[in-house]
């Protein structure tokens, strides 16, 4: 039937999502009516081992974390390419295998390069 592109399967996923969302929000909102609430400064200050925080953690941070994030983006996208290939592997046979070997080889080349550059070693 044209027009009903969204399969009903996904509707139930959406329902569950909304249900979970509703549960989370309702539990906090409803509880708000029942909980006691006696805030004061010492209770509300951010935790730093019993001291007043010296500064907010809004500083620039070690570049290492970003490097990992970039590597992740590269590798995860490449992994995604493996999925459709894996699904239809049976149907494509030897040709697909050879092709994917080349792909994985390219992926490994980048991996070895990153390793050699020390991107995978956590150093300051």
């Amino acid at each position: 039937m044209p027009g009903s592109y969204l399969p009903s399967d996904y509707m139930s996923v959406l329902f569950l999502l909304l249900f979970a969302l509703g549960f989370g929000v309702a539990a906090i909102a409803l509880g708000q009516l029942l909980r006691l609430r006696r805030p004061y400064h010492e209770k509300l200050v951010a935790y730093e081992s019993g001291n007043e925080p010296t500064e907010l953690p809004r500083f620039r941070f070690s570049v290492k974390f970003y490097l990992i994030a970039i590597l992740f983006a590269v590798f995860d996208v490449e992994c995604i390419f493996l999925y459709p290939w894996a699904i239809v592997y049976d149907k494509l046979g030897l040709f697909a295998f050879a092709e994917m070997l080349i792909f994985i080889f390219l992926l490994l080349a980048g991996y070895v390069y990153a390793w050699g550059k020390g991107a995978l070693t956590w150093e300051r």
């Binding site: 996923v13 569950l16 974390f65 990992i68 999925y83 894996a86 295998f97 994985i104 995978l120």
Partner: protein, 325 residues
Amino acid sequence: MVIEILLTILLIVVVFSVIMLHVAYATYFERKVIGHMQVRMGPMRVGPHGLLQPIADGIKLFFKEDVFPETADKPTFYAAPIICLVAALTSIAVIPFWEGMAISDINIGLLFILAMSSLAGWGVVLAGWASNSKYAFLGGLRASAQIISYEIAMGLSIVGVMMMAGSLNMSEIVKAQAQSPFGIYAIPQVLGFFVFLVAMLAETNRTPFDMPECESELVAGYCTEYAGFRFALFFLGEYVGMIVMASVGTICFLGGWTGPFEVPFFPIIWFMLKVYFLIFFFYWVRATLPRYRYDQIMALGWKVLIPLALGNVILTGIMKTFVWH
């Protein structure tokens, strides 16, 4: 149509309640298992053998004061625990508990679960950032780097399963598995299973990979500033995440709902046994191992698990093309 929708909602309510009950008693199970491994009894006071402990905990957390740090970033701080919980719970939708019994048996089930588990990591990162506390911030940063690193390993570890089953649909994977020579993929995919088990621990932030919340260094990590029911939402999210990961492991490697013989009237039994076996594995590891260091965790993920998983993909390809054909 209306009846169908109502039935779906009814199903969701039932599954949701059952899952919540399982989460509650997964905490009880954990405390009992770890307690007995540590020469103590675990909860004993509330109800017979402490059976009502999870309920008492829930009530306590519900009525606890909701402390909201002055410096926190309000909308993000509100959203983070809900993101965690919603992402974990939504994954439940595509898991088949027994033949034909899944809220939604979509074609890309496995991919959907991977996507949702990444979203749960996002909640942790946001929580660390929004709290505006250094311990939480460090926890959030660690979580971000760790979760994304192990996601690659996990994603690669199940490629072998996809190749063998030829599908991303969870039910199809189980059916294909039942027809395979060993009945479970854990044997031909032993390498993938190993990588999956390790990545599973890291993805759910469990010991020895509990970097984001290691209490001896970061106090409570990303949820340092969270109190009362907001904290409980993180907790629920983590345990639902564990159940989801254990279910994925069961479906992809341990044969899902199939068992050595059929149990009448109670088709979920094999699935549940396998899931609880994997959950027990989580607890067992927690009671045994010290925590890895951060750089060692990253090295393990990038330098050991990813090559292993890639090797597994190539090995599976070779075996499928030349040996099992």
